[in-house]
Amino acid sequence: MNYPIWELPTIGGGSLVALIAVLHVYISHLAVGGGAFIWLTDIKAVKDNDNQLLLYVKKHTWFFLLLTMVFGGVSGVGIWFIIALVNPAATSTLIHSFVFGWAIEWVFFVGEIAALLLYHYNFDKLDDSSRHKLAFFYFLFAWLSLFIINGILAFMLSPGKWVSTHNFWHGFFNPTYFSQLFFRTAAMGMIAGLFGYVTAIFTKEQALRMSLIRYCSKWLLLSIPAMVVFGVWYFYSLPDAARAAITDNAQMQRPIQVLIVSTGVIFFFGAVLILRLPRTLQATVTGLLIGIGLSWMGGFEYSREVARKPYVLADVMYSTSVMKSDEQKINEKGVLKSAKWTEVRCTANEIAAGREMFNIQCLACHTVNGVRNDVVEKLKDYPYMGILSLLEGQGKFATYMPKVLGTPKEKASLALYITEKLLKKKAVRAPEPYSPKQPLNADIPPFNRDTDAYVLLAWNDLGMHCISDSDQWFVILPPANTLEAQLIKRGLSPEVITEDVVLTYDVEKGFANPSAHSEFWKYAKETFGAVFKKNVGVAGKGVSGTFDPDDNGISFLAKAIPVVPYTDNGSFNPYPLFTVTAKRKSTGEVLAVTRVVAPTSTEMGCRNCHGGPWAVNNAAGVHSDTAEQILRTHDRLSGTTLHTDAVNGHPKLCQSCHGDPALGAEGNKQQLKLSTAIHGWHANFMYLKNSSACAMCHPAGSEGSTRCLRGLHATVGLGCIDCHGTLDEHALSLLKGEPKKPQAKKLAEQLTPTQVATAADVNPRQPWLNEPDCETCHADYQAPEKGASGFNTWVKGPADLYRNRTGDEGSVRCTACHGSPHALYPASNHMGKNRDNLIPLQLSDTPFPIGSQMDCAVCHTDAMEDSVHHPNMERAVRNKKIRQQE
């Protein structure tokens, strides 16, 4: 941020650095190894009294001089030039920290040139001993150059104690100094042999050529085993992070493969060249070897660069030229206010601000429609919100990238710039609002207090059931909506009836044929390992059928009804109504009839970040584009083959790996549970911090097509986070519930709670089993204190869940009178204000909970003075906003 940035979006500065560096390093290794080669070969020629060999040395020296002194020398200056252009801050740090190291290396360089020129220009004029002395001096100076440069190169990857002391020697003789020195020295022997072939091949006389080639092969075959041994030492001397990058980072695999394979190939061809081959073949193999040698060098240098990521100077400076020590300061102050070379200091002009952010934080490594790390190619599938999420999560798991710095507004500007200017897409900055259709009518069944002897109460177990509706690709949740019901016989002492009655349910017109709208049945064999009859759900229920008695002995249950939110006329309706009828089993007499919503939605907001359109009616459904992007991402990050499997007709149920109490799925015990994995992963990327974060995925948005948070809590202004905690807190509670899994630790590391002081204060929980306890806020059923939060006190187990509990009398379910979770009476449904309140309206003519407003007469035929159900019940609804709902 200290320097101007060279805008080179197509080629990318990194490519230029790589090009110059790899060529230079190849030749400079030759300069050292070749020095030894010339010196030792000259000695051998004299010792063997071999004039032909001496002539070869002379010829090779000229080739060597032209290559190393001219190309090698100038390209070395080229590296300095290009790194100073692409990353001036890092170059400045290297220059200032090691100036006398560079200066010493310069002295050796002068000596090297002097020795080489003297040796070459006086080759024919000097006696053997003087010539050998000059050759030795050349090699000595060249190797001493390496001795110095090696310290600075190794420093970049493993600065050791220098980070705290800034002492030259601590930086120079760092943890990888000696291992790298030996490794490179051995590599130089290999490269010297490689280039030895080049001049050998031009020798016309066959016997001499063969002897020279075999001599060069010896250099290869002796150097490579040494190089492998020193390479192993080098690997184990690397800092943990660098070693982890080599073994874990997908980006690293290619250069490492190139390095290993090319080492083997060079060794193999080195051995092959010992054989007596035709000259053309020898020349071909030599040409190949020179090319493979270059790829070896590229593999090695690229591996070093990737191992260093996200730093350009490990633990000191990020690739973006930001000092690690400045990170927090920049986040507080803002990038634009911290950078020197920008005219844009605020985000008023977001595109201009975004461009600056891009230049400062992305351009160092990425190109735009360019040759290397093309940002357009990488992000083309993502919409604005996805990009913003990626920016939020960058550097947390993909540790080869630094974290994106800046204020939330600056990051938003960057996301906008990338979306609109680079990807040329329109930026949709929040989930698009859904325009509700005309509210639907819902007839209230009749109820006559004077004549009706039974009260039938029904509800949905969760208040909203989500369906992923992406069966071709994956299944998170199938169509499986559970209804429950209780039948109460009115009287002086009302009685819960479970004997000699049969309860049936029947979906409203238009929803009777879910298999016409969902591919669940088509792929169920793959996803659930079973074939289900059309329109029959995973628990054997259809969209019309009979309730089963619940194990609790007081209520009835119709489990996993496969209703979907699509009607036969093509509309989206996440609130299908069911008519529930209670009949006397023995006579078939109808005892009571009511109607209840089975809330079910496919409005899963994956597309907000993963791209793609809605699948149905521009309102809901996970589109194939979205689903495929998700699978590809999962495959890339976790090494799975989900996308290919799905393409081949084998989609998976997410819970087949990630266990889930909601489906009773065990999953793979090594993996996080589904809820934990999904919340834990996405919390690290979510840039929103309030309830709107939840609505990015769940159908809870106040302007969405479902708006599932519709009960009285929503009416009084409570959001998801008031009970479940922020996304970070929610995720932390789940991750802490699986403490032995390493992934949980990793995902939790960078999450920050806001309602409690530290992550340690977040209480662990199991998904679906430990949920907020109503009594945390409503202690003893009283009004909550101001600012009360349901977060972080979880019920002990399923029996204590609101949806499973009863009143103090032990026979009436809480949900029977108060309605489903998330839709507590009085609920307010955007598809018809009272669609969720039909039962209280039927029984009491108010949308309030059954028996509230001291209306005990719903069940009790005698006036009641005290409540046996729960305290604080004998009173009018207290909250003004709620009262207004009547």
């Binding site: 200290n2 320097y3 101007p4 940035i5 060279w6 805008e7 080179l8 230029l16 110059i20 004039n51 001496l54 032209l66 001219v70 020398g73 100038v74 200056v77 080229g78 300095w80 030039f81 290009i82 100073a84 252009l85 001036p88 400045s92 740090t93 220059i95 200032h96 920290s97 100036v99 006398f100 200066a103 010493i104 310069w106 002295v107 050796f108 360089f109 002068v110 040139i113 002097a114 020795a115 020129l117 003297l118 006086n122 024919d124 004029k125 000097l126 006696d127 053997d128 003087s130 002395k133 000059l134 001096f137 800034h166 002492n167 030259f168 020697w169 020197k340 070379w341 005219e343 230049n359």
Partner: protein
Amino acid sequence: MNTQSLIPTPDTIPAPWWIFFGLGLVMFLLHILIINTLVGSSLIIAAKRLFGRNADLESTLTENLAVKTMTLFSFGINSGVAALLFLQVIYGHFMYASSVLMAVYWILVIPLLIIAYYGGYIYIRKHQHSPRLAGASIIVTALILLYIAFAFVNNLSLMAAPHYWRAYFDNRGGTILNTSDPTLLPRYLHFAVASISVAGLFLAWIHDRNAKRTSENKASAAPIGVRTGLRIFAVSTLIQAAVGVWYLLALPKPIMMSFMGKSVVSTAILSVGILLFLGAVFMAFKGKLKATLLHFLPLMLVMVIHRANLRSLQLEEYFSLTSLEEKAQYDVLALFLLVLLLGIAAIIYMIRLVQKNKGRKVTP
């Protein structure tokens, strides 16, 4: 936004600033002597190739010049590296910025330098057997060297003129040239003409040496070489004086006035330079090589000091060398000085080794 806010924050330096300043001066002096010789020689050779009349004589003159010059090529680059290294320690934050502004032109220096370098070798190897190829090569080399000189002058003038840096906000592609700076052209010409002067002197010097050391055949060309060289030096140095005046007048007025009496030190440095210049030209016209050299070498030193002084004055409003934060580590400095001495000793040893044993054996 003011210019000051663009000036990058410098890094801490590991020794007092004057050490780097001094080392930079010495290295630059060495570099400019070699590089002037190199650029000037290639221009003279190219010009002789293009416009020369007496082919044999030109060939003898230029062959000598070319062979010596190519030996200098490496040392020219090498001494430049050292000069640039020490410059970057104290002025790096200016130079990195200016380099980025002209990044495309700056990085082109590298591949072009490689081509020029090989061009020089092609000339030496081929000038007898393939004169056309050799001629084309040396012309390309000369043109490239002129380009490189321009890139350097552009960068060094841009780094000392931060008030032009705002051009970056209209052009971030690294193609900014400092052409709006009125000193750019005279500064460039100052270098280019100086190259011809220095190369002229070099030509005279090597022929003088040849006259003393080599065979009669070569020695016969020596007086012509010396005379030609000194004439080239004298004439181009006179032109150089005119360019120098232009350069001085193109400077911002407060800086110009510093050299014209406002600052005693600055005026004194320039005055000494002018006196040495007069002496050198006078002696050259008189054909006295040694006396010319005795004026010329101190003149180069004074001009290098003058140049450093000019840079300080140009950057005065933004930066002072004394403001650099220092965290000295003298043991490394001492080691460098020791290695430098050993290196010089080793080179002297190698040269002596060659001088002593040359001709002792003729290999097949």
